[in-house]
């Protein structure tokens, strides 16, 4: 990157002098033998009248071909029939990315245009200004494209927003591709600040479709169908791509009358996946009741107010059930004498133990509903006022009806003896919410984000917490209000300084609360819906139109330091991104587990297999 004044490479054409070139956009008349594609990077050297030399770098954003000399459409046939002389002229529209040194001038009309390769390519993409470079994909010629790590890890910016149509836009795959490079590669170790910092970094991935992401620790059975992938990974600096090595999987606890705690999972053995849920104590202390009321209409009524009142009252009366370690609680008949009304302060307090007779024992979501129904049924004005504020019986009824409706949706997640999702022991944590009802999905996402957020508030940026969440529009819709949306907006706005970094994905940007994409440093888009493309202001109209025709695996990435979004591709993953890709492995595992089970049943529990 030393001598940048004279790009000495193959000429691809001349700056078109028949139209004006500007400091932002020029046209290039291509040489007869030049093969130029969209997204090719070019350099133009211009000598200023004061003998200084500047180099403009640009990206090809459109290509044109015409017969010069043909003035009317019908002239085309005359040229083809060899009646009219005409010259075939090909032109490229180039959007300028950078002037080096930074002088805001236009390239000279008629100046020679060369391909920007090597150091010139790095300058064109501002890579000289990136001290720590995270590869974000390969450009369409197969060269790596980088983003500046300080815009990823929260120092200068954070959050990633990925948009595109489901199925073809490969949004989740791209999120995983980014995580893989951070969490699994040697470069990632450096980018995250060394091995210790890397090992304390956590990524929480919500699986929203099938059981697709419950196989990331397995090799991709279709790896062999993509012979080019190994080379592409090598270009990204990954010599031996492997599955994710440090993964912990979670699935919701399966419905069980007997109270057993087993993960509800089909494509993996139940021993490989942790069942998750919250004990009544966790439910109350983490104030998860608020995430039970996240549907569109919950906040437009008084129900939200009742919820807040009830949540505080539960905290004020919270006791631990004596001699119990499963998380059961007692909702005491009377609150602590010194209990205030600040929910966060109440939640911080270690609850006292209580005997069952001191109140009502709660071991499940059902029990909790029972408690509230009993309270609501009382005639004691004072108790009612304490629990429900000054609300009418109608509002109380609505609150309870909604809670009852949630029983089937959330009920199994709140129970004694379950473990919540912990971010210990592994770097990547995949939480399956695909089989849950929308209400329950919002509950889980809200509960987990809240715990990460609370844990990180006050501890500073490191260690980093990445959260991958698809269908962001469901959790933070553009319109309406909910505690979950509030939390996500808070994370978007303050998360980067606290090291909570959201990798959010959505089909349609316009359906998501604007604060989320606005705060994302890295914006990526795969194939876009044509009717939707207006929302993507960070792309030029031409690129938006083009994005409606992107093939799976092609994305466009916009980042703060590079003024134009760059189309990229990313390689086929070495890890399985759905059960089919893990087929060979998982079949074997399921069969093996079945055999172990059968042998155990035959031999008895004591036999050590």
């Amino acid at each position: 990157m030393t001598d940048s004044t004279a790009p000495a490479h193959a000429t691809i054409g001349l700056v078109d002098g028949s139209v004006e070139s500007t400091s932002r956009r020029i046209h290039v008349v291509l040489a007869d033998d030049a093969v130029v594609q969209l997204d090719d990077l070019v350099a133009i050297s211009t000598e200023l009248p004061d003998q200084r030399r500047v180099v403009h770098y640009g990206i090809v954003t459109e290509l044109f071909s015409r017969l010069e000399g043909a003035e009317l459409p019908s002239d085309t046939a005359r040229v083809a029939e060899r009646i009219l002389p005409a010259q075939h002229v090909r032109r490229a529209e180039v959007t300028l990315l950078r002037t080096h040194p930074e002088l805001f001038v236009a390239p000279d009309a008629g100046a020679e245009v060369v391909r920007a390769t090597g150091d010139h390519r790095a300058l064109a993409l501002f890579e000289d200004q990136m001290t720590e470079r995270l590869p974000v994909g390969l450009d369409l010629t197969g060269q790596p494209v980088h983003a500046d790590m300080k815009f990823i890890d929260g120092r200068a910016g954070g959050h990633v927003s990925i948009s595109g149509i489901s199925g073809v836009a490969t949004k989740t795959s791209y999120a995983l591709f980014l995580l893989y490079q951070l969490l699994e590669t040697d470069a990632g170790v450096d980018l995250l600040g060394g091995l210790n910092d890397r090992n304390s970094t956590r990524a929480l991935v919500f699986n929203t479709k099938g059981e697709d992401l419950l196989h990331l620790d397995r090799r991709n059975a279709r790896w062999g169908d993509h012979p080019e992938a190994a080379d592409q990974w090598a270009r990204l600096g990954v010599a031996e791509p492997r599955p994710f090595s440090s993964v912990r999987l979670y699935a919701p606890r399966a419905d069980s009358r007997a109270g057993s705690v087993v993960a509800n999972v089909r494509t993996r053995g139940t021993t490989e996946v942790n069942a998750y849920g919250w004990t009544p104590e966790q439910f109350v202390r983490q104030q998860l009741l608020q995430f039970c009321f996240t549907a569109e209409d919950d906040r437009s009524t008084q129900v939200g107010m009742v919820e807040q009142q009830v949540r505080i009252q539960l905290l004020r009366r919270l006791r631990r059930l004596a001699d119990d370690t499963s998380g059961a609680i007692v909702i005491a008949d009377a609150p602590h004498a010194d209990a205030g009304y600040n929910p966060d302060r109440l939640a911080d307090r270690e609850p006292d133990e209580a005997q069952p007779f001191q109140g009502e024992v709660v071991r499940s979501f059902d029990d909790l509903i029972d408690v509230l129904e009993h309270v609501a049924a009382t005639d004691d004005e004072h108790t009612l006022r304490e629990w429900f504020g000054g609300t009418t019986p109608g509002t109380r009824g609505a609150f309870l009806r909604r809670l009852v409706k949630l029983r089937r949706r959330i009920g199994s997640l709140v129970s004694c003896g379950v473990d919540p999702v912990s971010l210990e022991t592994a770097r990547l944590h995949v939480v399956d919410i695909s089989r849950l009802h929308d209400d329950a999905q919002r509950f889980v996402v809200g509960a987990l984000l809240e715990s990460i957020w609370t844990a990180k508030e006050g501890t500073g940026r490191k260690p980093l917490r990445f959260v991958v969440l698809d269908e962001l529009n469901k959790y933070a819709p553009a319109t309406g209000f909910s505690p979950l949306k509030e939390l996500l907006v808070d994370i978007a706005e303050r998360g980067r300084s606290l090291g909570v970094l959201l990798i959010g994905a959505q089909q349609a940007l316009s359906a998501v609360a604007p604060a989320l994409p606005r705060n994302a440093s890295l914006k990526a888009a795969g194939r876009l819906d044509a009717s939707e493309s207006e929302a993507y202001r960070f792309m030029t109209p031409a690129l938006r139109e083009r994005a409606t025709r992107f093939m799976p695996g092609t994305m466009v990435v916009a980042q703060p330091v590079v003024p134009e979004p760059i189309p990229i591709r990313f390689p086929w993953p070495p890890y399985a991104t759905n059960p089919d890709e893990a087929a060979a492995d998982s079949d074997a595992a399921v069969v093996a587990e079945r055999i172990v089970g059968a042998v155990r049943a035959f031999a008895g529990q004591d036999v050590d297999l």
């Binding site: 000399g69 009317l72 019908s74 002239d75 040229v79 060899r82 009646i83 002389p85 005409a86 010259q87």
Partner: protein
């Protein structure tokens, strides 16, 4: 049918002059003898034929950029012009797209009164060769510029002929050696004088599209024939669409007849369409394309005028300076 007059629209733009200017008697009128069909003007319908394998169209353009004056110390005034000429060709080779070739061009100042106007070169590639002509008629100066263009056309046509191209020259064959034996065709769009006996001449408009007249001898070394190259439309005058072909007589009459017969067969294919060209159909499409290309070579007339002005200013300043120096010397 009554013998009343019929009316017609001349296809040419005013700027090009009329395509037919041969009405009325003129001392230049000729009575060229018909040398085919027993001396009787006959209409021939040549069978349609394919375009020759190697075919070249040669043409030139010229433009007057500025009018100049030269005022001597004694007050005598001479007029002149600054202008540009260009010549080039379009080559048609089987299987390849048409292409431009042999383009050459230049700028000239031509001044009357025998003394030139030596304009200094200007930045941007403006350069003039200074030429003087005798007399005081600016038209003579203009003809001098045209001669330069015709000479270049002629040289290019000769070169292409020598290289084996069947060459169509836009205009009469004035600047081509008349004794040539290889096929070369002059293509004349305008009719400035009557070339046949009056009664024969009157029958020329009988030609339909693609039909040619009998061959006639133009002097000793050229043969001519009329061809209706295209339909100028029902509104057009009787001569619209008719061109005169010229071939050298060096190869003999039979060869000349053959050349005209075959040219009459494929030339109509190149006739231009009225919406495409003000001079349609006689201005051939490849030639109009060539002319546009040549005009691009001679540059923008507005810029040319600006360059002439700048050069004149520079010239005058220098003259004044030289005079001043001389005056100083005398002291």
């Amino acid at each position: 049918m009554t013998a009343g007059p019929t009316f017609g629209v001349e296809p040419f733009e005013v700027g090009y002059g009329a395509s037919f200017a041969a009405q009325g008697g003129s001392p230049l009128d000729l009575d060229c003898p018909v040398v085919e069909d027993g001396g009787v003007m006959t209409v021939h319908t040549p069978p349609r034929a394919g375009i020759p394998e190697r075919l070249a169209f040669v043409d030139g353009t010229m433009s007057t950029d500025a009018r100049l004056t030269r005022r001597e110390a004694d007050g005598t005034l001479a007029a002149g012009i600054a202008g540009a000429w260009a010549a080039g060709s379009v080559l048609s080779e089987a299987g390849l797209p048409l292409r431009l070739d042999g383009v050459c061009f230049g700028r000239l100042t031509v001044c009357c009164g025998g003394a030139p106007v030596p304009l200094p070169p200007q930045p941007g590639g403006w350069e003039w060769e200074a030429v003087a002509v005798e007399g005081d008629d600016v038209e003579v100066a203009r003809q001098r510029l045209q001669r330069r263009m015709r000479e270049a056309e002629g040289a290019l046509a000769e070169r292409l002929c020598d290289a084996g191209w069947l060459t169509v020259v836009d205009g009469p064959l004035n600047n081509v050696r008349r004794t040539r034996t290889v096929p070369i065709v002059g293509y004349v769009k305008t009719h400035h004088r009557r070339m046949l006996a009056a009664d024969t001449w009157a029958r020329v408009p009988e030609l339909e599209v693609g039909q040619r007249s009998s061959l006639f001898a133009i002097g000793a070394d050229l043969y001519g024939a009329y061809l209706r190259v295209g339909d100028a439309g029902p509104w057009a005058s009787a001569w619209a669409g008719i061109v005169r072909l010229e071939v050298p007589s060096g190869a003999g009459r039979a060869a000349a007849t053959g050349a005209v017969e075959s040219a009459a067969a494929w030339l109509p294919r190149f006739a231009s369409a009225p919406h495409r060209d003000r001079r349609a159909p006689v201005n051939l499409t490849p030639i109009s394309g060539l002319e546009r290309a040549l005009r691009r070579h001679t540059g923008d007339p507005g810029l040319a005028l600006r360059a002439v002005r700048a050069a004149v200013m520079q010239l005058n300043t220098r003259e004044t300076a030289t005079t001043a120096t001389r005056t100083g010397d005398r002291r």
